[in-house]
Symmetry: C2
Subunit: 547 residues, 2 copies
Amino acid sequence: MTSHARLRKERVGVVDYDTQIKEVRCQLVDQLKVLDLQLEQKTQQLQDMTDYLRRRGEIESEYSRSLEKLAERFTLRIKRKEPSTHSVSQVWLALLAQTRQESRDHSGLGESCSNILIQPIMYCLDYTQRLAKKSKDLCTQLQDGLLKVTTELQTAWRTYHQYHSEFVSAEGKLREAEKQEEKQKQSAKKLERLIEKRQLKVQEIQLKCGKARNDYLLNLSAANSSMNKYYLHDITNLIDCADLGYHLSLGRVIKAYLARRSWAQQNLNTGLQQLQEAVDDLDQSRDRDNLLQDHYNTFSMPVRFPYQPHEEDQISEVSAECEMRCEMETRFKQIQARLKTMTEETEEAGKSMSAAKSSLLAGIGDDDLESSTGLSQAGSTENLTMKPSVARRRANLLEVENLYLVVIKEYLVGGSLVSKLQAKHDLLKVAVEKGSTSSLRIRKNQSSANFFHNQKLFSGDMLSFIKASGQQIPYVVESCIRFINLYGEDPLSEQRYDLDSVAGVLKLYFRCLENPLFPIESTSQLLQCSRKRFYKRKHLTWLRMIS
Amino acid sequence: MTSHARLRKERVGVVDYDTQIKEVRCQLVDQLKVLDLQLEQKTQQLQDMTDYLRRRGEIESEYSRSLEKLAERFTLRIKRKEPSTHSVSQVWLALLAQTRQESRDHSGLGESCSNILIQPIMYCLDYTQRLAKKSKDLCTQLQDGLLKVTTELQTAWRTYHQYHSEFVSAEGKLREAEKQEEKQKQSAKKLERLIEKRQLKVQEIQLKCGKARNDYLLNLSAANSSMNKYYLHDITNLIDCADLGYHLSLGRVIKAYLARRSWAQQNLNTGLQQLQEAVDDLDQSRDRDNLLQDHYNTFSMPVRFPYQPHEEDQISEVSAECEMRCEMETRFKQIQARLKTMTEETEEAGKSMSAAKSSLLAGIGDDDLESSTGLSQAGSTENLTMKPSVARRRANLLEVENLYLVVIKEYLVGGSLVSKLQAKHDLLKVAVEKGSTSSLRIRKNQSSANFFHNQKLFSGDMLSFIKASGQQIPYVVESCIRFINLYGEDPLSEQRYDLDSVAGVLKLYFRCLENPLFPIESTSQLLQCSRKRFYKRKHLTWLRMIS
């Protein structure tokens, strides 16, 4: 039974090595499969990348061609005309130039994708497959070596056990012989020789057992060492060998692609920058001046109509002497009255015109362009709720436009009449004054300089009036203000003074001044100033302007 | 004749005004033409801009669709597989994500061009035409006013001259009557009355002449003033009125376009940045480790083969006792010798492998990607001269690749044998040493510790040797260097010492050290260092590393 048990034990041992080696074999086969899978994946990746780049190249080239055609179409139209300095044309040219640059950049990118970038990938595919094949071959070879070592281990182990069995059997035989000797007491010569022979046999087998154990131990160590070497070292090396250059090639291709893109990005930035500059340079007034300059002959003012008297005529002034005086004075007064009305109306029209122009421009600028470009967050529903508002705004805008056209017409036509009346008025004024000088001469000498100077209070020049009259502040201004100060502050006062009339006089005085209280040049500034939001700032600006 | 000359003079005057007014009329007609031309140009510009935006919108949408399809095609393939941590896959995903983002941005741009941006331009076209028409009407009206003033001037001028003629004729008649009176001496009552009548007539006409001159002067001034007003003021206003909002609208559209583009630019920058990061993250070693991790069962090392002795066997070591000693020692020596040869060969193969790998990688990296992306300056002729070089490089590279495969095979197969031999060698060494210990025990006790320590000089560990022997520098190193210092410097010396052999011993000593003089970890650094160009820098780095 012991020998039986031992045999089973041995069997188990054999079976154990066998199982383990079988498992190792399975692993090794799987490893080769993984290597194949790796190659397949890499091939797929490289193929995908090639496909991507090739198609991308086509897309870029197509896009580039479309942009080029687009730019070309309008460039041809422009070339037929002479170059224009009009700022809108400059914007247009910048837009076309930028489009052409974009076309060139995308063409370059397309070229790059279709040709330059694909080549390294194709080459990579090439050597990746070669390396993978060689790596697999090498892997197979190493695996064969490994399996050989395990076979040697199995063999050595079997030999070791076999010799042990032989030893056990030889020892048994020796014991048997020794037992026989003990039984027979007298050692027969023959038996003695048998024992000696069996002892020699046992020794011999024992030596063989020792050698077999040595062999087994050596092979066991070698097998374990080989396993270590293969799993810890060789597999890594094999995978590295198969992967060699793969990451490098792909990385370089993508880097080259990125460099291409970043180059195009820079060009695009520059182009958009130039377009931005052209837009910032848009200038309606300069364009209008250029237009007038370009059509100089059409818009230059003709020479003045000269005075062409007959030969004997020495007089070149309007005269209000003698018989004509009365008629001239009447005419002067009529013209003066009419001029005053017309001037006021025209000024009113001018103010309305400015206001209408401002709101028209504000209305034009009040579309949804800004909000629609910040976009992506503004959903389509929001757009729908905005649309009626756009329509309403358009309708309002049309009204403002019509108002603007009405008042500009009033302003310009009225202005023409005013300029005509003014010219006549000025001539008549001089004439009437000359005519009346002689009759006044005596009275003038008698009267005080304070009250009889030839400066008009109303419709005159305040500065000249002050100089001539010697009044620091014209009496009318002083007394009006004094009256308003006295009675104007108390709204609960029972007695109602006619403040409006007094204020009216003051207003009339200021309005009629030949040179307005605030010079015309600063009117627009003052108006701008009055539109400012913050009271303090407005105040400061006013003070600065007046002082 | 005087009257004739006068008439001619008058005619000339009339003709002059006529000519001048005719010229003004021509100018006025031209002005209207210029206004028409302006409208035409603006209409053309707006139409062009609309066409451009519409077509651009189509191009962008098409481009966007192509990119989307492209990204979609590969995204679907990826989705079918599980997500991968492979760094190349990450690059690929980043590239596709960036492509999709680009598609979205161009789609937005297309949408913007086709719809949002076109609307304000259409509206601008609308009101520009209205304003231009109204401006032209107003211009015509002002021109009519101007022409009326000139007609009045002509009329007044004619009247003035007519009355003067009448005056001259009346005065002539008076002179005639006075002459008759002088001749007849006695004034007949009849004649006297005639003179009186004629005097009255002269006075009457003189008054009329004065009035006519006044009228003429007034109209002249009015005409000149109207001309001034029209040319200096009205024309500017009319052009401004016609241009109102044109620059504003166009500027706003282009600004919105630019905002759109700059938004897309930012997205593109971010996308390319992410792609760049993915490329920088490419890591072959990490990918290999991930692969091993992913296929853990396939690549994990199996358990060691255990030692399975039979039950009675108490010995688990290789023994070189008694009869086996001689055989074991012989075997040990054989294995030792073979191990040494194989180790050296494998190390050589390892070095060659590293070198081949480096040149292979350098060769793969030595394509023209960098130069081809900096491009534009590299002409096609240059490309042609480069191409044979590429082919030659490819051929060289293939040779290097083959060499690499040969030496890596040598290295791995050799390494496997070395590991097997080493395992056997180590066991045998222990066994042989144990076997010989007993016989050496006496001699060991007699000998000095300096020379009989169990540290090997060759193929040993230098540090342990120094500790055990008490030698600061191993004698072999010291004496070799002394010899080389003594005889190595003078190339003219007649006596030729065998310096090579001595240096060979020194080299052999260093090469055989168990732990190399410079630790393995810093080898790659040292190699890198030796590649540096500048001697001084190399020197410094070496010093830093060694200390």
